[in-house]
């Protein structure tokens, strides 16, 4: 596990997503243990990824430093369980744009869920900049409009709420060939629309991210772009 953490950091990961979901595992014990092990060797921000609020709380207790909670959604149950924990440990939250009714395919409705999560978080005393929105990336192999719905949600959340945006980008290419090429193209479009922190394998997407930042005029003198490719030689 520590080897994996090291290679991901070396490949350019800015935050490590820690998920211990495995059959028969008690994540209330294993998530904090894993966090402690990583903390012992690396000084990198951690994203605590579990469906179990108790595991997240247990991990936050030992993590120290600023963490991310992955994830909260628009459902009351989720907001009630996690927002107060986030506030107590000054953690940032990832808010999924879905709720008790499931996943909507209307970008405006996804925006409304993002707005709800933001307002509830702010009411709880969480800073706006600590709310990161996940616009949901779905497989384009079963719905040819799946990516455009996500891109439009990103644009709306970026323009209207100005929040940071994250997502698990590789979902979109499920069931298709050429997955890495598709993921890279999608990440580029998503960044252009307002995606700021994709969850992905940095060994596979850093090139696309650096190239997109350069193409969008966000990398003066191509410093990060050139540095990335030089480091690969």
């Amino acid at each position: 596990m520590l080897e994996l953490a090291e290679s991901q950091i070396r490949a350019g990961a800015d935050v490590l997503d820690v998920n211990v979901g495995f059959p028969g595992v008690d994540d209330i014990i294993l998530l904090p243990e894993t966090v402690l092990a990583i903390r012992g060797s690396f000084d990198v921000p951690l994203c605590l990824d579990s469906p179990n609020p108790k595991a997240i709380e247990a991990a936050l207790k030992v993590a120290g430093g600023k963490c991310l909670i992955n994830s909260v959604n628009g459902e009351e149950k989720s907001l009630i369980a996690l927002l107060c924990i986030a506030k107590e440990y000054e953690a940032a939250i990832i808010g999924l744009t879905m709720d008790g009714d499931g996943i909507t395919h209307d970008p405006e409705k996804r925006l409304a869920i993002a707005e709800k999560i933001l307002s509830r978080a702010v009411k709880e005393g969480i800073k706006e900049e600590d709310v990161i929105i996940d616009p949901l990336a779905m497989a384009v192999s079963t719905d040819s409009k799946a990516c455009i719905v996500t891109l439009e949600t990103i644009r709306l959340v970026h323009q209207k709420l100005g929040l940071n945006i994250t997502m698990g980008a590789s979902n979109i290419s499920f069931g298709l060939p050429g997955r890495e090429d598709l993921n890279s193209s999608f990440i580029s479009l998503a960044i252009a629309n307002g995606l700021t922190c994709p969850i992905a394998n940095p060994e596979k997407i850093t090139a696309a991210v650096r190239a997109t930042d350069l193409a969008l005029g966000r990398d003066d003198f191509a410093v990060r772009f050139v540095e990335y490719f030089q480091s690969k030689i």
């Binding site: 996943i103 192999s141 079963t142 298709l176």
Partner: protein, 222 residues
């Protein structure tokens, strides 16, 4: 007659739904599965023959190509849509009992899990294997599976889960079903599921792809 069935099978295999469908481009403006199934019935081809000699073999080809990664999810969906457009014409014969299917298959994504792509693909392929599929949807708990089994006691069950965390719920569902219906057959599938896990929780079969499930059902029926 053979000509009709061959053409129909080709349409299903290639996902040609109907004449107005532009896909696949090389079959543009030709009759699709919809028109051909209708015409075949009008010309006196038996619905059984349409099912057995055109739809089932075509879908088996599709399933095998998918297993070998020669086609991908969108192609499989197109084929399933073409199959459905032909099935529509067979429905009255299923309802009247004139044409019998191989049996019933109940499928659902287990409780806590909202992922439906894998479940839907398996449901389509099993329907294409000649079975009546009862799709309970997503986030389905043991009680709902039991209720469906009470209504269809001889049905075979399929459980789907995408997450390592929700896969755990398969265990409880299998236990509850086997308590009441000890001779029932339960298939499990989904990204984190393995043969070992299937055995561990007392389920009967695991397949990494839809066609494996179709083949297992075929074995059970014969």
């Amino acid at each position: 007659m053979k000509d009709f069935l061959q053409k129909l099978a080709l349409c299903v295999e290639n996902g040609k739904i109907n004449k107005s469908s532009p896909y696949p481009p090389n079959m543009r403006d030709q009759d699709g599965a919809d028109e051909l199934a209708k015409r075949a019935l009008e010309e006196g081809v038996k619905p059984d023959e349409i099912l057995e000699n055109a739809l089932i073999p075509a879908m088996a080809k599709v399933g095998n190509k998918f297993s070998r990664k020669e086609i991908y999810v969108p192609q499989m969906l197109m084929a399933a849509k073409a199959m459905s457009s032909a099935m529509v014409h067979l429905k009255p014969f299923f309802q009247s009992g004139e044409t019998k299917r191989k049996g019933k298959f109940i499928i659902g994504t287990v409780s806590g899990d909202l992922h439906d792509i894998g479940k839907n693909l398996v449901a389509m392929m099993i329907e294409g294997g000649g079975w009546e599929v009862i799709d309970l949807g997503v986030d389905v708990g043991a009680e709902k599976f039991l209720k469906a089994l009470d209504e269809n006691p001889n049905a075979i069950i399929g459980l789907s889960a995408l997450l390592t965390t929700t896969m755990e719920n398969m265990k409880n569902i299998v236990t509850v079903i086997k308590e009441k219906y000890s001779s029932s057959k339960i298939l499990v599938g989904g990204a984190p599921v393995t043969t070992e896990y299937c055995k561990k929780i007392g389920a009967d079969f695991y397949s990494p792809d839809p066609q494996g499930a179709v083949n297992y059902l075929k074995q059970l029926a014969s």
